[in-house]
Amino acid sequence: MSRRFLTQPLTLAGLVLLLLVAVITIAGPLVYDVSPTRTNPMDAYAAPSGHYPLGTDQLGRDILARLLHAGLLSIPAGLLAVGIGAIVGSLIGIASGFVGGIVDTVVMRAVDVLLSFPTLLTAIVVVAILGPSVSSAVIAVSIAALPSYARVMRGSVLPLRTAAFIQAARVSNTPLHRLLRVHVLPNVADVLIVLLVIGMGNGIVVLSALSFLGIGVQPPQADWGVMLTEGVRAIFSAPVAALAPAVMLMATVLGINFLGEGLGAALRVDTARRRPR
């Protein structure tokens, strides 16, 4: 499988993109030694020039310096938020759909309830309990993402529950965890990966929305989402302020997506081969 994964052209494209982003964010701040917080109000929204390679933002801060520092915050936070939500949500969904019965009914109604609360309110509550910090924001975003994964995964498991090969496994008294691992997971992995990689970009952006409520990243720190939100305000007069973080964000998400697709394609071939006929 690993060879199949690595030889997918998508995998290659994803690796190249992510490597690029990683090099920029990790090595960038070391090489480009300009303060991301020093303001120069008289140079606000300066166009890119020799002095400011990507121009400046509203307060005359160097966009390139801010962009490089922001990456270190955005990528891990986005990954964590969506990762936690997806893993917990999927496990709930798979278990619920597969076990069925009263458990399924109760869990799914609980998911419905969770789904009805705006992310905003959930975030405010989480912050009220844990205090304002980046990790509170990450937890809030993962809780908000959780119900979607649970519902979708349950939906994918439902038709499998009655499939002949699963029925057979049941009759033969295969333990539940083995049933899930061998027969269910490979079948739903594909949908899961699609959702997971798609959630990443959203995660970073939702995190930025929360920092505008004083939840999450506190100024003068910034992540790409915060830079983007700030930049969009002046998008007509100084487009670089919004486009620079947008490009980084998209490159990251695109890279992860390509990797995910490559993995999905490899898995698909794999499971198709392994599935009982």
Partner: protein, 310 residues
């Protein structure tokens, strides 16, 4: 289990869920920090007037008393009066909900319009090549990963400011809905197209489809009768999730397009701690989501009668 019994049971289980929403919303909005009177008062209000207001709004009552009062009025169909607008909350919802439903439906429609053809086409093409096209992944990813406000701003600048095809904002003519619907629908289409593609591929590779193909069932019939209905379950599930998200989360889109929906109102109500409004609005959204999921479960049952409650 008969179909009728299935539906009846399914309706019954939504009642405790609705009750849970009621209790949780009430507790959440009261336990978080922030004070409605401080918000209304700002820095300009005489402290004595502010203190009187707290009494008038019933905020000095013990929480259990407040909750029983609230529960009682909800059962009578009264969701209370907004602290901010002094309007009955039911009236606020009645004014805003139609716009939200309209926009959500239009967003889902726009999403399907884009995603169904793209998803199926890509699946059919890839089934042959046995790998995913880079362009498909790139396009759908860009659809999804473009942040709402950037996408909205781009749509406005291109289709309303530079080429004046659609109105910039508002809800005053029928074509006002096109841009906000696209802003909601494009990210949805990105997700939908991929789920559609994946599930079509998945079903197309299942043994029964292969068998049918081997015995010479025409490809068109195979697609219409066997592949698509089976592939639609994950799509419908996703739609139910997204419907909820769109309902509650159209906030940014509503703000950019000055669309008078419920999203901005919920945001404002939470931000200003308008307790009765928050409770009522979230309750109604929750009932909608519960209702939609109920319908979807019934649809599952119709598509695949083997799926029951137990």
């Amino acid at each position: 289990m008969s179909f009728v019994r299935f539906v009846a049971r399914r309706v019954l289980v939504t009642v405790p869920a609705a009750l849970a929403v009621l209790v949780i919303t009430f507790a959440m909005i009261r336990l978080v920090p922030g004070d409605p009177v401080s918000v209304i008062a700002g820095t300009n209000l005489d402290p004595q007037v502010a203190a009187d207001l707290r009494q008038q709004l019933g905020l000095n009552d013990p929480l259990p008393v407040q909750f029983l009062d609230y529960l009682g009025s909800v059962l009578r169909g009264d969701l209370g009066t907004s602290f901010l607008t002094r309007q009955p909350v039911t009236q606020i919802i009645a004014e805003r909900l139609p716009y939200t439903l309209m926009l959500t439906a239009a967003g889902v429609f726009a999403g399907l319009l884009l995603s169904v053809p793209i998803g199926i086409a890509s699946a059919l093409r890839d089934a042959r090549k046995r790998r995913t096209g880079v362009s498909f992944t790139a396009v759908t990813t860009l659809f999804v990963a473009t942040p709402d406000f950037l996408l909205g701003t781009i749509l406005v600048s291109v289709l309303a400011v530079y080429v004046k095809i659609f109105p910039v904002a508002g809800a005053q003519s029928w074509d006002s809905i096109v841009l906000p619907a696209l802003a909601l629908g494009i990210p949805l289409a990105g997700i939908q197209a991929r789920v559609i593609r994946t599930s079509v591929l998945d079903v197309a590779n299942r043994p029964f489809v292969r068998t049918l193909r081997a015995v010479g069932v025409p490809e068109r019939r195979l697609l219409g009768r066997n592949v698509l209905p089976n592939a639609s379950i994950p799509v419908i599930t996703l739609l139910s999730v997204e419907f909820g998200r769109l309902l509650a989360g159209a906030l940014i889109v509503e703000n950019i397009f000055a669309w008078p929906g419920l999203g901005t109102v919920i945001f404002d109500s939470i931000g200003r701690r308008d307790l009765p409004a928050v409770q009522g609005e979230i309750l109604v959204v929750a009932l909608l989501i519960l209702g939609i999921n109920l319908v979807i479960d019934v649809v599952y049952r119709i598509i695949d009668p083997r799926i029951g409650l137990t």
